[in-house]
């Protein structure tokens, strides 16, 4: 839990809440066509999960918050730019919502989506 100790109590934000914000930011990011489970090799079923935080991991190291994103990128785009953009977008939206700095946002490109035409 990330805590902010106000004088009359404490404010705790759950990892799930952070993940939800990160997820919304990620799916709006251009070039990201899906979020995938870390274990993509487990099969297609993992892609169909309706979990609103699927493909996002939130980790705490002491007081620092780290976010890991597992994304699927559209084939034909500049993967490095797309990854950098989604990292920036997620960081921006999460930091804005939380009011706390995020230490690391790591992007893992799990796969590319290729169209029939490619």
């Amino acid at each position: 839990m990330t805590e902010d100790n106000a004088p009359l109590g404490s404010i705790q934000v759950s990892p799930r809440a952070i993940a939800t914000i990160a997820y919304q930011a990620a799916v709006e990011s251009y070039g990201v066509v899906g979020l995938a489970s870390k274990n993509l090799f487990n099969g297609l079923t993992n892609l169909i999960v309706k979990d609103p935080t699927h493909g996002i991991e939130i980790n705490y190291v002491d007081q620092a918050i780290n976010i890991d994103l597992y994304i699927v990128v559209e084939y034909g785009t500049n993967i490095k730019t797309v990854a950098a953009n989604v990292a920036k977008t997620v960081r921006f939206h999460v930091e804005k919502a939380l009011g706390l700095p995020i230490q690391e946002v790591n992007v893992h490109v799990q796969g590319l989506r290729v169209n029939a035409k490619d």
């Binding site: 799916v27 709006e28 990011s29 990201v32 559209e74 034909g76 785009t77 953009n85 804005k96 035409k117």
Partner: protein
Amino acid sequence: MTPKNAIVNKNRLVILQQYPIDGRGVKKLAQAGYAWLEANRQSVNALNVFPVPDGDTGTNMVLTMQAAMEEIKNSPEQKAGKILEILAQGALMGARGNSGVILSQLWRGFARSVDGKENVDSQDLAKAFVEARDTAYKGVVRPVEGTILTVAKDMAAAAEAAVKEGADPITLLERVLQAADESVQHTPELLPILKEAGVVDSGGKGLFFLLEGMMRWVQGQQLHTAEGTVQPLAALNLENSMESIEAGQDYEVIVDFRPSKPLDLQQFYGDLEKMGTSIQVGEGEGMYRMHIHVPTEKRYEPIDYTMTLGTITNVAMENLMAQMDALSQKTHGFKLKPVEPGEIAVVAVAPGAGIARHFAELGAAAIVEGGQSMNPSTADILSSFENLPTDKVIVLPNNKNIAMAAKASAELTVKKVRVIPSNSVPQGLASMLRLDPKGDLDQVAEEMTKATKQVQTGEVTTATRNVEIDGVKVKIGQLIGLHNGKLVTSAADFEKGCLKLLKKIGLENYEIITLFYGQDVRPEMAEEIAAAIRKAYPKQEIETHEGGQPHYQFIFAIE
């Protein structure tokens, strides 16, 4: 335009209207689009609704197109399809920011549609616009309307309609351009955040400029300077109007007004041009802002003239010469090197005007004043480089305490920022010598970091309290000497303080020492100290400069 040009342009238009567009035509059109986008880059940047992660849309789209144009410039290919393929590949590789990636997707779809073709006719063009749209839409899970995607969609629709009417390629492009224009104007209706900010979508506008550039080339119009058309208020470049002050222009006059009937812009500009220079017109919520520089005797003319057109709501007048004097006193007349788009820009934090001048002379693109407490904020550092036309930035904090703020500014931007660990002014200056603006960002940063370790920093200042540090006893008011930030000597007066410090550093092992004297030091005293150092160390070269820094009376750069 000379008659010769007029004939060439008429021929160009006639040929382009009659025949499908060949490889050469594609190259020319793309080049024209890129040039016009470049010319209007600033006004696209100004449309960005802050705060948004995709920094400068204009710069990003220009850099993306630049990469694309580089690829086709050197290519001997003749076929239209092949050239577009190479262009799209270049755009992909050079895509910057969200807008750059979407633009690269548009080119990718466009090129794929005409793969293998030697020429493109109206049918081909329409199919290409459609495929461009489809490819772009596919690249995101939740396409947002009121963005460049919507403009691409409306462009494709116009292209299809034009083909049905049997239009030639040029007429088709004209229809597409018109649709793009209308679509861009309509984006605030689709995206509330745009309406709130009073702007249109930046990416869409960039796409519009690309297309407009092409049509301007067809018509033989110039492509290097943005036209004097109305811009959104946010795009008015009023802070930089100082740079273009011409002889005879004494006053800056800004008038906000509501016209009583629709403004004839051509007439308005024409009339203003008779009065003065640096004319800019911006449009806001049902009002216009006019900016102009005029000579003293004409200073009321713009106001009287505008009054005939409607209701004036606000007038501002500023004496430019007085402004200039104040400004040049502040900046001590140093000129910063303008940054070439895409090159590395260095931001240096400088504690004094003289030191700032040194950084400027060595090629710094921006200076952040350290101020009395040498504590510029993250926002100060960020704003110094956010508007530079490049996404490669190197920051020299020149002080251990500022490194944090510098790193924080790197997190707040989409630009690539490297913070060099320069803990003192001498380290910062030494690293400037390794700057290669055209080089690879990380390599240059590495070189600059290495350079910081190759210079010794000496600082002499007055102790503000009694203290014992590292075996050195200091009484309040005494002079203390620091070597690379560590307290190493103390003395009773400046001359002894400097000499003792230099002895401790081992000046005999070095060759050149540069002395920067602070704002509280008289130049005569600095010269005396320099003379004393020369006497003690005849083999070493010593240079004296006015640094203007607060607190540290003397800063030594020793190499």
